[in-house]
Subunit: 272 residues, 2 copies
């Protein structure tokens, strides 16, 4: 089963387009609790409400070697029916990207990963060779600095287009194995709308709702494809840190439930 | 002592602009030897001939948890007088880049790291706050696919410039703590020349000589600054895999020696 099949099954079963970002920092979880035990409790509390999980590797690497152990255990703990996206934003020259591909897909066992396009095709290609795995290429990221380069108007095939559009066009060309998607932040709804119009069939990973302030309704309206799918809406801090007390897992469940239902409500409004 | 002071002292003491890339893969080293023991032997054999070491994290991550342990031990083993550059190509939204900064500079203990600029300033900023540490921003990478995006002509401050030039201009603006450099591949000598002309004072990390086929003479000619410095020339595979036999350390020493002397010869020719 490839990533998209697994994703769509989880979307159907849990009636959810929510991805929970497992960006766990030891200093933000209940004292004395291990990162793995925290993640385990979050997963136990939310696994029937999500379509995917997405740990960001930075938070585990920041904890040193024991952080990596917690990451490995977390990915193994996620129920097999729910895909896990490694938010890694890797990308390097060909032989080095091959090593990253091995790290993310074979060693850690992610079903998909986020990839940085700056180095071009040979940096992305190793992540596409296994048709069961999936690469979300950074297109328009959710952060303030995204405009620094991604909004630059570039000459491409005789037209002036913002860089993020060129990235989307190239990513679409690279999608011969049907395993390329795009990262498009909810904080830039017009850009999201624009990219969806040009790429009706690509799957978008959408960060930026919640703590980053992206508009959920616009993200759903502008992001979904004609089959009422094609978006994976990530929330990290708003869910896993919904409470800093011992009731964190229940609070995470409530926050996930609320987000799932809000997305589904917006879906009904759009296509009702 | 900051990175540049440490680098310049190693450059002087060892009369060397060579950085050895410790991109160690278990399947390419003598059977039965550990990755750390291999790196230790390479470091012992070359520490008087280099100005820096540069492990690329991909090769350690590809080995799973034990690879990370080998990386940590390797960085600790490098003599304190020689700076270690973490080739990580990281870059994420602000709070996530902070976590990567902690991972690279505090946990692993690198003196410098390579950073991907695609996400813009807030992705780079966390790596610049500690004035003793240093960030090499990817500008023009050494690989074939580099042209896909880095060569696109972009509108910037009223002029059309290739994206890599805009990255260099922005990186220079971000260099208020004097701890920003650029990655410019030896495989693109004209671009290297161009960037050096615009940025006479920035330090360049230059990959792409050796296995990737970059022209060493042009890299030196076009790369060096007015003080006959400002370049760190990396070679990985050509040095660490100079021999696949048990004489690998001696062969690495010879290859490093040769590269150092060739660079110094080209330096003499340029500025006689």
């Amino acid at each position: 089963m490839n990533f998209i099949e697994k994703l769509n099954m989880a979307v159907e079963k849990n009636r959810s387009l929510v991805c929970v970002g497992l960006d766990t920092s030891p200093e933000l979880i209940p004292p004395g609790m291990s990162v793995f035990d925290f993640n385990k409790a979050i997963i136990d509390a939310t696994a029937d409400l999500v379509c995917a999980y997405k740990p960001n590797l930075a938070f585990y690497e920041a904890q040193g070697e024991k952080g990596l152990e917690a990451l490995y255990r977390t990915v193994q703990y996620v129920p097999k029916a729910i895909p896990v996206i490694g938010d890694a934003k890797r990308g390097d020259i060909g032989n080095t990207s091959e090593a990253y591909e091995k790290a993310l897909f074979e060693q850690i066992g992610f079903d998909a990963a986020t990839i940085n396009p700056y180095l071009g095709f040979d940096a992305v290609e190793p992540f596409l060779k296994n048709k069961d795995k999936f690469a979300f290429i950074l297109c328009r990221t959710s952060n303030k600095g995204a405009a620094d380069f991604q909004s630059l108007l570039c000459q491409y095939e005789g037209k002036m287009r913002p860089l993020y559009e060129v990235v989307a066009l190239k990513a679409n060309q690279w999608n011969t194995n049907h395993n390329v998607g795009l990262v498009v932040g909810a904080t830039y709804p017009e850009e999201l709308k624009n990219i969806r119009q040009t790429h009706p069939d690509m799957v978008f990973l959408i960060p930026g709702v919640g703590a980053q302030g992206g508009d959920l309704k616009l993200a759903v309206n502008y992001g979904i494809d004609k089959n009422r799918r094609g978006i994976v809406i990530n929330s990290s801090r708003q869910i896993i840190y919904a409470s800093h007390g011992t009731d964190f897992a229940l609070a995470a469940r409530r926050a996930t439930h609320t987000l799932r239902d809000e997305i589904n409500k917006h879906l009904t409004e759009v296509r009702g």
